[in-house]
């Protein structure tokens, strides 16, 4: 097995929140552990407010931890702003959700792509235009776009430019933070296929954050399903899709439409009711119990262990055995 690229161990992130007179602590990420191998794509899935973006930022050293460690190639993440941290910026990149605010509106695409090249001394002034043209080509855009301002580009084009900007430093890992959620469905598919091509070409590892399991299935090698800052289920993409074991994952999978009207109509739906609880005031025991169809007394009493069911497939649920058998029966 190859060396682990990035490893997060029991990371916790808290925010102070004031509501009225009370000072509350929001546990955005509450004890998360995961590892990403070189060239691997790890999908972080969950609803809004599940802490997946915060976890993604923490993975590349953009978010201060309350406790726990993030190690990159075995080395703990250095302090933000330090020289070592600055060096790591060449290895760890990020693409954000909103392509409309991710490019400086006063800069041309050439300026936007020049910034990382200049900053890390990756291309001399003469080589720069060539490097920019290659980057644009790599993300499926024409070199003539370099002279344009972001306002002249579509959302999909802008997101491609953001990907090109992240690729400019030839990173080993890119965090893709909901990069398709602001785009049309057809553009989403194009971006996903672009990511698949880039993975094959450049061996870059990805942390792909999304609330859309259908999209994650297309890119991720492994998946971690998050709920209120914790994993409820992790494992290889194929296994999770073939046999989801946590009630939350099952509900999320039911929310992915099947592109076949007859099969879609025949499907048994198990919709999720209610909202994700306030992370400043989570339920006792299992966080998911307030929305879980299987919840019993034990779920309120104690938090379930994160059990390994089979190789790499872990589930945090008191009732996982019943669910497993139920799944097998049907």
């Amino acid at each position: 097995m190859s060396e682990v690229l990035l490893e997060a161990e029991d990371i916790r992130i808290r925010f102070a929140k004031r509501s009225g007179r009370k000072n509350q602590v929001v546990r955005a990420v509450d004890g998360l552990s995961f590892a990403v191998d070189p060239g691997e794509t790890f999908g972080l899935v969950g609803e809004s407010g599940s802490g997946k973006s915060t976890a993604g930022n923490a993975a590349i050293g953009l978010q201060e931890l309350f406790s726990g460690t993030v190690r990159y190639r075995g080395e703990p993440m250095p302090v933000p702003g330090s020289a070592r941290w600055r060096d790591l910026r060449r290895q760890l990149q990020v693409v954000f959700q909103d392509p409309f605010s991710s490019l400086n509106p006063r800069w041309t695409i050439r300026q936007a792509l020049s910034e990382p090249l200049k900053l890390h001394g990756l291309a001399s002034a003469e080589e720069r235009d060539g490097a920019i043209a290659r980057l644009l080509e790599q993300v499926g855009l024409g070199a003539e776009l370099a002279a344009r301002y972001p306002a002249a580009l579509s959302g999909g084009q802008r997101q491609r430019v953001c990907i090109a900007r992240a690729l400019a430093v030839q990173p080993e890992l890119i965090v893709c933070d909901e990069i398709t959620s602001a785009l049309d469905v057809s553009t989403q598919a194009q971006i996903i296929s672009l990511l698949q091509d880039l993975k094959a070409q450049t061996q870059v590892a990805l942390i792909f954050i999304s609330h859309d399991l259908g999209l994650v299935r297309g890119v991720a090698d492994r998946i971690g399903v998050m709920y209120l800052g914790r994993f409820v289920e992790t494992g290889e993409t194929g296994k999770i899709f073939a046999r989801p074991l946590h009630p939350y994952t099952i509900a999320l999978l039911h929310a992915v439409p099947v592109p076949d009207p007859e099969r879609e109509a025949a499907r048994k739906h198990q919709p999720l009711h209610g909202e994700i609880p306030d992370p400043a005031d989570p339920p006792s025991g299992c966080y998911f119990r307030t929305r879980c169809p299987y919840a019993t007394d034990i779920c309120a009493a104690e938090a379930p262990a994160f059990e390994e069911m089979e190789d790499g497939h872990r589930v945090a649920c008191h009732h996982v055995r019943e669910i497993e058998q139920g799944v097998r029966r049907s």
């Binding site: 006063r106 910034e115 900053l119 301002y149």
Partner: protein, 273 residues
């Protein structure tokens, strides 16, 4: 030539602005009269083709005096805003970007200044330092600092959270570079609105303070000092204070509208290749 004004109002206001600059630098190009020339045959003469704003108590052309007053007016307005900007823009960028105790301290100072009545403050300063153009610029500049600071701080907080600033940080761009190259250019629009607004306030406060003897002192010519003298003749020659007051008001209005137009013109969402 995309920066040239196109709409009729933009063309009109640009012309007014250009005239103001000419009046400040080469006032003799705009009027044949000497603003201090005495003509005993035409004391307080009513407006006529020869003297559109009439003449003053010494027979000097009022229009000429208004035109020669632009220089000091512009110096006070620009000087006070530049002075305030030099202090307030870096402070606002730092407070908005860094947050924490830096923000807390700077905001506290700014709010303290803001809670002080301008005129009372001006009276205190002038009483201790003496009335002069320099004192006036200093007082106005000081008063404008929190106004520019609050704007810059708020805008910085908005832009700090955008993807391109976060991406620059993730890339390893240093904070000063982020502030100057990413944030500052993107708050120019709101700054361009507030600068002419503050200049308008400067013109009005100059007129007010000089009128009560705390600003520009006659024989130096500013609109405020003209108002001060002209008020003595408001019955015998009503056009005299009226002409000066109207010009002051219109100049302030032109500055405010000009700022709005300039802000629309620099809006990058209108810029394409």
């Amino acid at each position: 030539m995309s920066f040239l004004p196109r709409s009729p109002s933009a063309i009109f206001l640009s012309t007014v602005g250009l005239l103001a600059v000419v009046a400040a630098v080469f006032p003799q190009w705009l009027t044949p009269y000497d603003p201090t020339g005495i003509d005993v045959t035409a004391l307080l003469a009513a407006p006529s083709w020869r003297h559109p704003f009439g003449t003053d108590e010494l027979g000097a052309d009022v229009l000429a005096r208004v035109i020669y007053g632009v220089r000091l007016e512009l110096a006070i307005a620009l000087g006070s805003v530049v002075l305030a900007g030099v202090v307030a823009i870096p402070c606002g960028l730092l407070a908005g970007y860094l947050g924490g105790w830096v923000d807390w301290v700077l905001t506290l100072v700014a709010d303290s200044i803001l809670s002080f009545p301008i005129v009372l403050f001006a009276v205190l300063i002038v009483a201790s330092l003496g009335a002069s153009v320099a004192t006036l610029i200093g007082v106005l500049g000081f008063v404008f600092v929190p106004r520019i600071f609050r704007l810059v701080r708020g805008q910085t907080q908005v832009i700090r959270a955008t993807g391109f600033v976060r991406a620059a940080r993730a890339m390893g761009v240093r904070t000063p570079t982020i502030l100057v190259r990413h944030i500052l250019p993107n708050i120019l629009g709101p700054l361009l609105v507030i600068v002419p607004q503050l200049m308008a306030i400067a013109v009005l406060i100059e007129a007010g303070l000089s009128f009560v003897g705390l600003g520009v002192q006659p024989p130096q010519i500013s609109w405020g000092s003209l108002l001060l003298v002209s008020k003595n003749y408001y019955i015998a020659a009503a056009w005299y204070p009226l002409a000066v007051g109207t010009v002051t008001t219109l100049a302030a209005a032109a500055l405010v509208f000009g700022g709005d137009l300039a802000a629309a013109a620099v809006n990058p969402s209108r810029r394409r290749v």
